[in-house]
Each structure stands twice: as C-alpha cells, then as structure tokens.
Amino acid sequence: MKVTFPRLGSMHIFCKAIAETAGIPYVIPPETSRKTLTLGVLHSNECICLPFKMILGNFIEALQKGADTIVMVGSGPPCRLGLYDLVQKVILEDMGLHYRWLTIPPRLTWGAIWKNHEETKELRKELSAKNVLLFPYGLWMGWKKMMACEGLERLAMKVRPLEIKKGETQRRLKKALSWVDEAKTAKVLEEAIRRGKVLLEEMEQDHSRRPFRVAVVGELYTVMDPHINRGVEQKLGELGAEVTRTSWFSTHILRTMRKNKADRASERMRFFEASKAYLGYDVGAECNVSVGEAILRSKEGYDGVVHLMPFACMPETTASGILTKVGQEWDIPILTLILDEQEIEGRIQTLLEAFVEMLEWKRRAA
C-alpha cells in the first residue's frame, strides 16, 4: 500500500508527517508543474474549475510514480468540490490506472463514518498494529507541522514587503519550511520552528517603508496554492504590500469540525454577517466570506483587496459580480483575478504592478 494525496500549498508537508510518523508508506505527488496541469487539462472538460484539473494531474503523476491509494478530502454541496471524487474516479478508471480511494468525510456524521468504514475495510488489513497505534501521534505531528508552516508563512507575509534584497524572503521561507518538513521528532520540530523564525526575522529589512495592506480573498484552493495563483502572495509582497489572508488549512479544518461554529465572534462569522447587506443567502463555499471580508477590510482601512477565483467557479462568479459593486460603494480597490490553465504569469505580474501603482496614487491623493 502506498498512500498519496493532493498537493496544495504546503499541505504535503503535514500529510507526509502523518504518514511518516505512523509508518505508512506514501508517495508525494511531484511538485505541481506545467506537466501536471497539462495532464489534468487533457483529461477533463474545459469548463471544470482549475482545482479539479490540478488535483487530477497530481493524482495521475502520483499513480504513475507507484502510489495505489488516494486520500482525498470530501466536501459538501453546493460547490462542485463535493463531486470531484465521483468524476475523478471514472476518469482514472477510463485511463486504466489502478487505485483505491479513501474520502475523508467533510462532516462527521454516522453515515459518513459507515461509508468510511466500508472504504477502509480492505485497507485496514494492510495496516499493522504499529501503524494504527502510531496514527494519533501522526495526526498530532501533522497538526503541529501545519501550524508551524502557517506561522512561518504568516511571518514571511509580514516581512516580505520590507526586504531589501528582492526574493530573499522567499528563499529563507523555503529553507525554513524544509527544516520543518525534515523534523522527525517533536523536539527537533520545536527547534526547526525557532530557527525558521529567527532566519526570517534576521533578514535585512527596511523599516522606513510603509507597506500597503492588501487582503487576499476568494476560493480557498486558489488562495492557498501558489502554483494555481502563480505566487500572487509573493508577487504582491515583493511589490511592497503586506498581504493578509484568512483562508488557512487550520481555519478550514476547524470549520469542518465545527470547532469555531459556536464562537460567534470568529472571523468567518464576522465576514458572513457583513455580507448580508449584499447577499440574502449563503451561496456556498467562500462566496459570502469573500464579499464580507472585502467590506470589513475596507472599514478596517486596508488599501486594497485581491479576489482570486478559478475560471467558471460557480460561487465565486456570483461573488465577483457583487464585489464590483462593493468596490464602488465602499471605495476600496478590488482586483479580481480569474485563473485558468493558460500561461498567465506575466499578465498577473503586470496586473499586480498596475494595481499596486494605483494604490500608491490613491494614498498620495488622500
């Protein structure tokens, strides 16, 4: 048995951590590349959203590398993500690839647990007692690493606009993340996090700069994965903007586990409430949050909002229409970037440069 999973942002680091600590063999899909995307595009319809194509590409490459069990997050309606597995299974079958599929249920209901039980019946035979015993520890390690990655990325977002040597933050972040990735025990991990932080903080910085504050909102996959969004976060940072985003793995995992549902003051709830002036109903996925966040960020004095969405994404298309109006009515510049498989890296760079320049004019005029 060899487990594989989709590659999304720094997710592979902690998926790997779980598998490694529990002693389960795994294959990490090769870094998402042009080839991955081409594979995904070739085997799907042109109007399916980009994440579908990326994930499909990841799976094909991983299966070709010898993986035989796919672990995929499930999701609920109304977004298409919930039916990814249905379609991807048929596509892989049609391609003649052999695999087994395990869906992590989006909501912990009895039905979902039962279905999971069915799915894992055969898999569990291949797991040793050691694997099972170590699994909770693996989960804990994975969670730790996830928090560590997110902490480091947040720090990087903060210092990036202040960097003196362009690209230095990214280099240091990569190094720090690799330390986290390599850490095998909790003790080494602590040390790696500490060293990573110091590495980023000690970078040469120009504190006289006044970075723009920009919020990145939108569909979670495009917001979280630098391959899909062509490094929007990094590009904005290097252009002198301090980026904020509220879509992290931990937020989504906690949200699914309904940990912060009761907490009315949680950030997502706040955004959701704010969107009510424009949206009378929960449209699904991140749509309401995108709209609400843009409104609140404007109130909080942010300089601009970048809205990311995959081409033909259903909820975010609705959001983009509404965001145009939000931008006008709340006087905040909003840049919507629609992402697809085309070579658009250069275009995104140009758009972002223009966007930041516009922020500069706006600041000068004020």
Binding site: C47, P78, G280
Partner: protein, 350 residues
C-alpha cells in the same frame, strides 16, 4: 426555472389580481447586459431584469435553493436575486422569497403565502390563488409532452394558447399535427422537406431525446430554437419530463456518490435511461460555463467509455451567445443522418 414553473407563477399572481409581464426576450446578442462573467442563462436573466426594470412594480426572482426534498439547485440561483438587485441598481423591488423544499425547510405553500403577504394579499386570497395555480399547473404538465411537439418553442409557455389536437391530414398515413397560430417560417419549410426525405419510406418519425436544463432546451435565446430545428428535421422530441422520478433514480442511485443537484440528477439519470432504449438518439444541450454540466459532461463521457461506448447516437451541444443557428442546423442534420442510417441498418438486420 421560468421554463418549468411559469404557468404556476402566472396563475398565482393573476389570482391575486396582479398582471404578469414577461420580458420580450433578447434575440440579438448585442443587447445582452454583461454584469458578471457567468453562464449564458445567468447573463440573460440579468438582461431580462434590466429590460423590465422600468415597466414593472415588482420583479419576481425567487431564491431557488432547492425544489426537491433532498437535492439542491445550482449555487448561482442562490445569489441570483442579489445579482439582479445590483444590476438593476436597486431601482425595482425584487420579490426574492427563498424556496427551499428540503426537509426542515419551508414548504412551497408557506413560501407563497409570504409572497402574497408582501403583495398585500390576505392569507385566504393567497391560499385560493395557490390552489388554483396548483390545479392548472398539474393540468398544464399533463399536456406538456404534446405541447413540446406541437407548438413552436416561443409559444410553449403562453398558457392561453391551447395545445393543438392531433388531426389526420388527408393522404398521409401518419397523423401530422397542425402548427400553432403563428408558426415559425423555417419550421414549416423544414417539416415539408423532412416529409419528402423521411416521411415516404419510414413510417414513424425519429424519436430523439433532448436532455438538459429546462432553460437550455426551451429558451430561444439560449438554444437558438434548437427544438424547432429538430422538429423541422422530422424528429419527435422526447424530454426527461416523461420520466418518473423513480426511473431517473434507478440510473443514478448506484453511483459511488450521490449527485446532489436535482437538475444534475435529472440530466444524468434520464440520459442513461434513454440511452438504454426507447428512443432513436439522444441530444444533450449544455450552456458554456455551466459548472454542473461541465462536470457531468465529463462524467457521462467517461462512464460511457468505461461501459463500452453508447449504444445509441449521442450528440452533445454546448451553447453560448455566439452559437449560430446555421452551425446548429448542420450538426443536427448530420445527427439525423446518423440516426436514420442506424435505424435502416437495424431494419436490414432484422
């Protein structure tokens, strides 16, 4: 969902003493209002709303969350009233009552009572109007299948036009139907030509199933009159409306995961149902950028391949505002030829 429930809505509002005005359609693509970068049906919805903005007191754009006890609608419907409100610059009051028939939701009757209240009607008035609408709607649905074949697409939903009855035309072995009051010119033409080609040796018209969201099938601006073209080519149109929910469910219930959009289920279920027999060919109409269709299209294609290819001719047409009537015609003609070829082949084998 005008193209399924309009008769119901019309009778309801008329029952409350309001006159119902529908937009005149778009016809020219230059007139489309691009408020957002969405699928064609959505763009048309916005265009219609803008057209009606000055002419009406209330705009009825229900928030369709779910019209089935366990399945839901496309997420775009949930935001549709909000989009319309912004696109019309909040100049017209939008009746955006949420319709959610899932368990735990509000019943259709309750939703309509609320709509009635908004229009200043008493509970009893709304109740009567609702019952009346229900009655005439079920009558309308009964005649629906005949209506599709006997009326030009543009008149399908003009409730006042009765469904023309079948009438034997002299000299013809087959019952032919008379056209509606103002037949579309190409239709008459087409019908005549198909009569020469197919009518003479082949007795029954080709039965072709047209599958897709109701608006893709019946909106002339989306389908470019695809159904009329098909009728002109001598095809008899069958839609998923003739299938019961059970028949549709049978085809989709064994999938590894439930398809949770009611329209998606209907499409996949009826497609596989028709492909297993009962018709001569299947046409699947989708609109470009429709999220549901894009995913399901791929699913259907792959599943058919895995199952060893479709047993009947299957045509998938993707529609958008740039689709031309001529292009559609060519494809439908070719499709008809394939279907006919196949039928005569099978007759020889027999």
């Amino acid at each position: 969902m005008f193209y399924r429930y309009f008769p119901f809505w019309k009778i309801f509002f008329e029952g409350l003493g309001w006159s119902v005005k529908t937009s005149e359609g778009v016809r020219q693509k230059e007139k489309i209002v691009y408020f957002e970068d969405s699928c064609l049906p959505m763009k048309l919805l916005v265009t219609h709303a803008v057209q009606l903005r000055e002419k009406v007191d209330y705009l009825f754009v229900p928030r369709l969350v779910s019209i089935h006890s366990s399945f839901i609608m496309c997420p775009k419907f949930r935001g549709a009233p909000d989009i319309v409100r912004l696109a019309t610059e909040r100049k017209v009051s939008v009746i955006d009552e949420t319709i959610d028939l899932r368990k735990g939701g509000v019943s259709l009757f309750q939703s309509f009572l609320k709509i009635g209240k908004k229009l200043g009607a008493s509970k009893q008035e709304s109740k009567n109007a609702f019952r009346e609408a229900e009655d005439s709607f079920s009558k309308f649905r009964k005649g629906w299948v005949d209506r599709i074949n006997r009326l030009p697409t543009g008149q399908l939903f003009e409730v006042n036009i009765p469904t023309p009855a079948l009438r034997r035309v002299q000299g013809s072995p087959e019952p032919r139907w008379i056209q509606g009051p103002s037949p579309e010119p190409h239709m008459v033409q087409g019908a005549a030509s198909s009569f020469e080609v197919g009518g003479k040796e082949k007795n029954s018209p080709l039965r072709v199933a047209f599958i897709g969201h109701p608006y893709n099938l019946f909106d002339v601006d989306i389908s470019k009159g695809c159904l009329s073209l098909a009728k002109g080519l001598g095809m008899e149109i069958v839609t998923s409306d003739i299938l019961s929910e059970k028949e549709i469910d049978r085809e989709v219930s064994n999938l590894s995961k439930e398809i949770y959009w009611s329209s998606g289920r209907e499409i996949v279920g009826s497609l596989f149902h028709f492909l297993s027999g009962g018709v001569d060919g299947v046409v699947f109409l989708t609109s470009f950028k429709c999220g549901i269709d894009a995913l399901l299209q791929e699913f259907i294609k792959r599943r058919l391949k895995v199952l060893g290819g479709p047993s009947l001719p299957l045509l998938m047409l993707s529609l958008d505002e740039h689709t031309s009537r001529e292009g559609l015609m060519t494809r439908l003609e070719a499709f008809r030829d394939v279907v006919e070829e196949r039928r005569s082949d099978s007759q020889i084998v027999k």
